[in-house]
Assembly symmetry: C2
Homo-oligomer: 205 residues x 2
C-alpha cells in the first residue's frame, strides 16, 4: 500500500478514536496530517469514504495482530489470541475504541466490516475447536462472548479497575463459561478442546 | 405523560428500530404519525431531541419490563429478570434494536442514557448478590455479560437459530460463568447467591 495513504489511515484511526465521526471534519484531518484537503479527496473521495477506509484498515490490523501461531495447539491458541487482543487494546486504545464504538455504528457498510471481523473471529475459534458443521449454540455463545470482550475492553480502557492479567483471566474464564453453556445445549463429541463443566457450589461462610 | 407525546415516542421507537437515525427524516416521522412537523417541533424541538427522548423512553420501558418482583429470592430474581428481558426483546424487537444499536451510538448523550441503563442493571444484580462495597471484578464481569446478552439478542433477532428457551439457558449459564470468573479473582465471603465453579473436563470420545 502507498505509504502516504497508510499514514493517513493511521492518523484517521487516532482521530476517530478520540472524537466521534461528526466531531471530526475534513479540515481537521487535513490539518492534523499537514496535507491539503485536495489530497484527501484524491485518495479517499470524501469524509465518509475516508472513515470506511479507516475502519477497514483498523479491522485488518486487529485481525493481523491476533492471528495465532498455527503451530500452537488449540487451547494455547485461544490464550495467545486473547493475549494479543488485549495488547492491541492497550497499545492502540484509540484505534480499538474507533473500531468497536464506531461513530457510524448504524451505517450498514461500517456495521458489515465490523460484523465480518467478529464472524471471522468466531469462525476461527470454531475451526480450532474441530467444529465444521454449523453449530448454532456454539456460534451464538462465542459471538456473545466476543460482544462481552469488546464491552469489557472499552470499559476497562475508560476505567482500568483491574490489572491486565486479571482482565485476561476474567475473559478466559468467561470463555470457558460460554463454551460450557453451548455444550450444555449441544454436547458435541468431536471437540478438540476440553470443555469445562459448571458446578454449582454454595457460597462460602 | 401527555398521551399524544407518548404516542409519538412509541412511534419513534418503531421507526428508529427499523431504520438508522440518518435514514429517518422529520418528514417521515410527521407522515407516519399523521401530524404536522410543527407539532413535532412543539413537543420535541427537533429530530435529535426527538431521538434522545425516544431512547430515554425506550430505556425506561426496558427497565420497567425487567423490574424483578422484590419478593423473589436473588437467584430466582436473576432468572425472572432475564426471562422478562427476552420477552421484551421478542415482543418489542424494533424498540430493542433501536436501544442497543442506537443510530447515534457515538453521541455522548445517547451513550450516557444507554450506559446508565446498563449500570443500573449491573448495580441491581450486585445488590441482589449482597455486594455493597465496590467489587471491580464483579462489576466488570457483569458489565461484559450484559454486553454479551445484547450482542446475542440482536444476533438472535436477525437469525433466530435457537428457540428462546435455549437462548435463555445459554445466557443464564453464561451468567454463571461470568460470576465464576469474578469469584476466581475476588472470592467474596458475603455473597447471597451460590457461585458456580468451573471444572475443566476432557472432551468426550
Amino acid at each position: 500500500m502507498d505509504s502516504r495513504r497508510a499514514q493517513l489511515l493511521e492518523l484517521g484511526l487516532r482521530l476517530f478514536g478520540r472524537r466521534s465521526y461528526d466531531e471530526v471534519s475534513i479540515d481537521d484531518i487535513a490539518q492534523a496530517a499537514n496535507v491539503s484537503k485536495g489530497l484527501l479527496y484524491h485518495y479517499f473521495g470524501g469524509k465518509r469514504a475516508f472513515y470506511v477506509a479507516v475502519v477497514r484498515d483498523g479491522a485488518r490490523r486487529l485481525k493481523e495482530a491476533i492471528e495465532p501461531d498455527p503451530e500452537l495447539p488449540p487451547p494455547a491458541r485461544a490464550l495467545a489470541g486473547l493475549e494479543a487482543y488485549l495488547r492491541f487494546v492497550e497499545d492502540r486504545a484509540d484505534a480499538y475504541t474507533a473500531l468497536v464504538n464506531g461513530g457510524l455504528g448504524a451505517d450498514p457498510e461500517i456495521f458489515d466490516i465490523l460484523e465480518q471481523t467478529r464472524r471471522q473471529q468466531v469462525q476461527s475459534m470454531l475451526t480450532d475447536m474441530g467444529l465444521r458443521e454449523p453449530r448454532p449454540a456454539y456460534r451464538l455463545s462465542l459471538r456473545a462472548w466476543i460482544g462481552g470482550v469488546e464491552t469489557a475492553c472499552v470499559d476497562w480502557l475508560r476505567d482500568p479497575v483491574l490489572p491486565r492479567a486479571q482482565l485476561l483471566q476474567l475473559l478466559l474464564t468467561g470463555l470457558q463459561g460460554a463454551l460450557a453453556a453451548a455444550y450444555a445445549i449441544d454436547p458435541v463429541a468431536e471437540l478438540t478442546v476440553p470443555i469445562p463443566r459448571l458446578l454449582e457450589v454454595d457460597p462460602p461462610g
